[in-house]
Structure formats: C-alpha cells, structure tokens
Homo-oligomer: 466 residues x 2
C-alpha cells in the first residue's frame, strides 16, 4: 500500500476544507422545526454531493418518515474489515437567539475557532471523515479497508426513523465495526475512549386547573392556580440534594462494579476548575456516588422546560388555568425506557395536586443505554491510534448522553460502535455561540486517516474478537 | 324642596338617554393605545359638554401627563353635604377583535342589551350620574346637595396621574362623601354594598444556576437545574391546601370580627354553581375560612407566571441555566405592601435552593387595602336607598381586587368612597362582546336621583359620623 502522501494532501487542502465547513454550517438544518424541513433536505443533498466528489460510490439519499438519510460506500478491499462511519447533519434549535453574538447560521472564524450552530455538534466532525477518506483515496494506491458512510438528518430529534431504515437495509449497512465522529475529545491533550452511552425517555406534563385564566382580585384565594400545582408536582420529583424520588426509578439499575469505579476514579476531577467555566457554585446530585459516576453510570431526570401564565413584560394579576413542563431522563444499561416512563406517570398521578387535572404526553424519542465491553478488540485498536496521535494513554469512560443508534446498531448489525470525535465540552453544543476549535478539526483529519490505515492491517476476525 | 317630578322626567327622556349612550360608546377611547390619544380627548370633550348642558358649572378639562380629566361642580346648597362623583371615560383595548359579533365601537341594541366596548365599564354608569343630576335640577326647585364630578381618562391603565392631580387640587375636590358608579350590582334582584378593596404588591424572581444552558447528557446528574430550583422555591410558598408559608406574611392582618363573618356568611354560596362555569373541580385556599372570607378578607399570594428552559415544540435535552416567576399578592387592611415584600424576600432568600443565585425585582405598582367601617353613616344611607329601590336588603361584602383610588381619596380628601354601580359580572368587562343591560341603566338613573335626594336630607356631621 502506498498511503504515505495523505499528510501532505491534508495540509495542502486546508483552505478548501475550511471553506466547506463554512458552507455546510450556513444550512439551517434544524430537524425539530417544521419550517426547516427543506433546509435539512438541502444539507442531505450537500453531504451526498460531497461524498460523490470524494470518490465514494453508490451515494444515495434515502427517504424516511421525516428527514432523509445519506448513504455511500467504497468496497474494494476484499478480505479486509468493513467500517461503517455514522453521523448526522441536522442541528439543534437556536433559541434563545438574543444570546448569540453573531448569526447562528452565519459562520464566523475568530482566533482559531469557528462559531455557528452545528459547528461542534457535528458538521465539522462529519466533514473530517469524508476528507480523510478522500485524502487517502486520492493520495494514490489501494484504499486499505472497506468503508460505508451513513449520515442521518434526525439525530437531534431522536432518530425515530433510523431503526426501520437499518432494519430494511441490513445487508447494505452490514459491517464489522462502526465509528462515529459524533463525539468529544477529553481535552486538547488527552484522548478518551467512550465505552457506553445512556438511554433516553421523556414526557410532557400538561396541568389544567380551570377552563380559563381568572382575575386574581375576583377569584384569588379559592380557585386552584396551575402554576402552584405545577411547582408542587415538579418539586416532588427530587429531594433537595438531587436524589430522584420516583418509586421504582432505580429498580433495574445494575450496580457499578469495583473495576468500573476504579477506571472512573482514575480520571482526575477538580471541582473548582470544573465549576468555574460553567458559572456553577455547587454540584448537586445523587448521594453515595462521585460526580463521574453520577454523570456516566447513574440515571437522571431533568425538567428541560416549564411554563405557565403570564410570562411577558410588566404585571398581569392573573390566576393561570394551565401550566406545562417537559421532562427527559438519561437511563443506564438494563433500564427499559417505557418502564421508567410508567414509574414517572404513576408518581405524577399519585402526586397530582388538589384541583388539577393531569395530561401526560410521552415523547416519541426513546433510547436504550449501550456499553462496549472493556476488552473489545476494535476498541483497543482505536485506543492505540489515539495514543499514537496524542502521545497520551486514553481514559476509558462513558457518555452521559444518549446515542440511540449505538444500541440499534448492535442489535441490528451485530457490531459495536466506537465514538471518535473532536469536539470539546466547552464548545457550547446545543447552546448559543456554539463553536469548534480549528486545531481539533485538523487533528480529526489525521486521526481518521490513521484509523483507516491501521484497521486495514487487521483481519475481520481479529477486529471482532471472534 | 320640589323634586317629586324627576321620575316623570327620567321616563320621558329615555330615548334621549339611550341615544346619548350610543353616542358616547362610538368614541374609541382606548387609553392604552398611542393611536387613540385623540379619541380619549374627544371623549373628555363629549363628557365636559354634557356636564355643561346638564347645568353643571365651572366645567374644566384638566390636563395630566397622559389623558385629560374632566371636572365640574354645582355648589348652591349651603350647609348641605358635598358629594364627589368619580368615574372614567376611557376603555380597555378590544383585541381579540375577531371574537366580536359586531364592531366594538358600533353600539348594537338587542334584546334589552347594548353591546359595545365600554358599555358596562363604565360609560353607561357614568351617564347615569349626569342624567340623574340634570333630571332633578331641571325638574324645578333647589338641587338638594352640593355635587362635584371628576371623570378621568386613564383608569384602565392604572390612573398614574390621578394622585398628583388630586394632590394639586385638594381644595377643588374637597367633599364629604365620594360615590363611584364604576361598580357592579350583585344581581338584577340583589343590591350590594362593596365595603372594601384589597391592596397589591408583587415581584419577579430571577433564578440562575449557571452561565449558560447545559447539555443534559454531558452535565446531567451533577449540575444544578434552574427549573428544579424554581419548582422547589415556589413550592415552599404554600402548603398543599393553599396556606401561605411565608414567615410574617399574616402578621399585620387584623382578624375578622364576628359581625364581619356574620355579614359575609349571610351571602349565599353554592359551590357547584360557582365552580361549574369556571371549569373548576375543587376549591383551595387557607384553612379555617369560608370561600368569601378568603376572597374578600384574607391576603393571597399568586404565581401569575413562571418560565424556564425550552418551552417550544418538540424535545430539547437541556439543563436550563435560568428560570423566572412573577408573583403578586392581594393584601388586606393594615398590611403594608413594602413590609409584605420584605417578608417574601426573606423567605425566598432563606429557601433559595443549593446552587442557585436569586435576584428579586419588585413591581412598581403597589396599593394599600381600603375599608369602609361597617357603621359608616354615608354607607348606611346608601344601603337604605338601595333597599328601597330593589326591595331587598343589600349584602355587605368586599372586593378582592384593588382600587388604588379609594385609598388615595381617603388619605388626600379624608372622605370614604362608596361604589354604587349597575354592571353585572357576566357583562364581559375587558372581554369581547361587552354589553350592559338597559334595565340596569334605567335602575341606575333612579338610584342616583334618590341618593341625591336622601343625601340632601342629611347634615354634614351626620354623613361623616363626626
């Protein structure tokens, strides 16, 4: 194989790679918003075109119930492993818009960072994999492994249609290992292996106390107030420290092993340097667990949004008739999202305040938690590449977030997914002024080129540990 | 005195009185809307002209910071009491316009009702007092009391300039009793004496737990959530039944006397017929008090609005950094709004959850409660007139709402205000399709004629109970 010229290719194409990053960020591909359906489709077309230019074959836009996915392949390495690259080109909503220092879809490059919605999550990481493929392919010689690309447009709303898509294309997507660049580095100096993700389940609470908002001068003191009811109900979900009080919520959680606690404990945690950049004064959460254990291995329940009554400027002496809240839970291995929602519903019904009627609407998006065995061979190969590039041994940790696709891939395709991405956790994913460091973007190109190389030196049976 | 012909005058002038009602309703005197400033001024001029025609003297349009007020007087009853009639000629906005069955400023008379914005609140009630004055004056003989009229154009936006106006015209407005027709009957058959109003105080809570919203997958389980903190904090304000848990909140409340409780208890209350039209399943509120005692004579604390995090369509797995709530209290006699706000602030600070920082912004608008002593002679005279006209003993009740003007008149002019008006609470004040019953309009004319007569048979010292 003659792949040694890709470092030169990567370096000489940097201005083009940056221009393409800006181009893709300009597309407001917000998957949750009705009015952006066309933009998500535009992003799909942009990605499909770029794959084709890179030399990827059989590029297809695959329609689903909501937003299309994009597929492409290069399968000319017989006897070599097949690697599936998975990612997404949709992004989160941008509100509160007023907090953005420049337009969320007008990318701004400043001091080695690129600012825009989707910069770190994950349009930069997506481009890295296409560029790395192209750089090796066009540097001459045979590409070292078989590669399949699958990019979707509904990750930020829960990948509802991806399961059916995979089920109906199992042969097309079949592979030996999955790499997803939808991920983070530990720090600019420290690589990390993300060995598991959390599950997800959620619901919306609609409380009603009357048929109409009422005048507090005429009715105050005797009619129920939907805001009071909601505050009381939501207040029943946690104790002051943050322990979840929902009966049965923790029932199916598998206790942490000593070796897991040791690995997590090996990762340094400094409370002050953790809290300060976030503007946080105290940590909260479940008793008896370290902060990392809580984030990585314990289930959580968050009130993502709540509202009721008059929220405008000034004063309105109204007794609101309705109040609402949105809740999501992050779950761990062995917790069934539907069973957890059952527990929460039972809790809410049992604690529904006097005079309030309760409606619960479950979110469609659920996900199971997922875990890679600590000695999975593909994972160990990735860890070695990271150690070579960074010059540091990766931490072995988990992700508090959800990647529903990981569990789905494992059950449908029988392959583990290893996240290898280049975001950093201060880059404001899902928040105003999201950005990505350009140094990370360039490092990502190098890591994926090396990964393709090293995986090409491995047999299928080695990779799968079969 | 020869006043016995006014019933004939009232009856024979009905078509003129109705035509004038229609005329005044056609003026869109919306005080909150910039584009209606000229219309509020037109209404002022219309009222001033009508007072002059009626025989009122020294009629003046008094400029204020926003909309002018109208003053007039008739002071030729030496040794007799002076009665100030207070009201307003401005109206509420009309939106949502689509819900009106005919134009809000195109008065429609149908089935004994007149439909238009301002019909019941309070252009009809205002005209009643001018017509009554004129009917007696022009029926021959001496007018029985001294009368002053004060009609303002900014009641619906809070009467901001009325305090300074009264302060700078204390001599001109000086009087022995104030009657305001800006009020309601209990029912078509049942008269009522409104013997007090509540005070008002409020504040906004701004809670902050971090410098930015955070991803629940990356931070869930260890960082504080502003919504959790707000729910916990708001939940600390009431117990499940609705008792207010703020230390010191009830301290200055004067206990209800047995005779007050008896009077309130004399007013029939049927829970089912009260709850059903409001879509309410249970009454709530402070223990140990009847519903009417709670609405009329006990202070309340309502969360008028609250919001935090993601309140849009769909799902956003965010840990909100900020959450907000608006609170107002209805206060009773002897409660100082500023002292009550002090108590609430102390409570909020003492209960501020772990990891949250608290900012409190007090609302500018406050009002003291106001009460007419149960044996105030002017009130007893009014009650007797109502009993004579309706053939039923009036209920003695209070208003749960605030009428800042009543406390202002008492402190500036040393005179009590007795509300005597003819609206009914189903007449959609402030809502689309506002109307007034014409029967109530005609009854109003009779009540005010009788009031002028009877008050003329009273000495100043009798009236004031001095």
């Amino acid at each position: 194989m003659s792949v040694s010229t890709w470092p030169t290719t990567l370096y000489s194409n940097r201005s083009q790679y940056l221009a393409e990053f800006v181009d893709l960020l300009k597309i407001p591909s917000i998957s949750t918003a009705e009015e952006h359906v066309g933009d998500v489709q535009s992003a799909a077309r942009w990605v499909a075109d770029r794959l084709t230019t890179a030399g990827v074959e059989n590029v297809k836009i695959l329609p689903t119930g909501v937003h299309s996915a994009v597929y492409g392949e290069w399968l000319h390495a017989p006897e070599k492993p097949t690697i599936l690259i998975y990612g997404h080109f949709d992004v989160q909503p941008v509100d509160p818009l007023a907090l953005w220092e420049s337009g969320p879809f007008e990318p701004r490059v400043e001091n080695g960072r690129i600012y825009a919605r989707g910069a770190t999550d994950m349009k930069g990481n997506l481009l890295v994999t296409i560029h790395a493929f192209e750089a090796i392919l066009k540097s001459g010689g045979q590409f070292p492994v078989n590669v399949k690309f699958l990019f979707e447009g509904q990750e930020e709303i829960g990948s509802r249609d991806l399961g059916p898509l995979i089920e109906s294309h199992r042969e097309m997507f079949s592979c030996d290992l999955i790499l997803t660049p939808d991920s983070l580095q530990w720090s600019e100096e420290q690589p990390v292996m993300w060995m598991g993700t959390k599950g997800l389940a959620g619901l919306q609470i609609n409380l009603k106390t009357a048929d109409m908002d009422l005048h507090s001068g005429l009715y105050g003191g005797i009619v129920p107030n939907a805001n009071h009811a909601l505050a009381e109900l939501l207040g029943s979900l946690h104790d002051k420290q943050g322990n979840i009080l929902v009966k049965g919520f923790y029932d199916d959680v598998v206790p942490l092993t000593e070796s897991e606690r040791e690995r997590f404990g090996a990762v340094p945690f400094d409370k002050n340097s953790y809290c300060k950049p976030l503007g946080i004064t105290s940590l909260v959460g479940e008793e008896g667990y370290t902060p990392y254990e809580r984030v990585w291995a314990r289930p959580t329940l968050e009130i993502n949004g709540m509202w009721g009554g008059f929220c405008g400027e000034g004063v309105k002496t109204v007794i609101p008739a309705e109040a609402h809240a949105k809740i999501t839970c992050r779950l761990v291995l062995n917790q069934n999202p539907m069973r957890v929602l059952d527990c929460i519903e039972q809790h809410l019904e049992a604690h529904c305040p006097i005079g309030a009627s309760l409606e619960i609407v479950r979110h469609n998006a659920t996900a199971n938690a997922y875990q890679v065995p600590i000695d999975q061979p593909g994972a160990l190969i990735v860890a070695q590449v990271l150690e070579d590039v960074y010059g540091a041994t990766p931490y072995f940790v988990r992700i508090g977030g959800s990647l529903p696709i990981t569990d789905m891939f494992l059950s449908q395709l029988g392959a583990y997914t290893i996240p290898v991405g280049f975001g950093l956790d201060d880059e404001r994913a899902h928040s105003p002024n999201e950005f990505m460091r350009l140094d990370s973007y360039w490092r990502g190109h190098e890591v994926y080129c090396r990964l393709f190389e090293v995986l090409g030196e491995t047999s299928i049976s080695q990779l799968k540990g079969a």
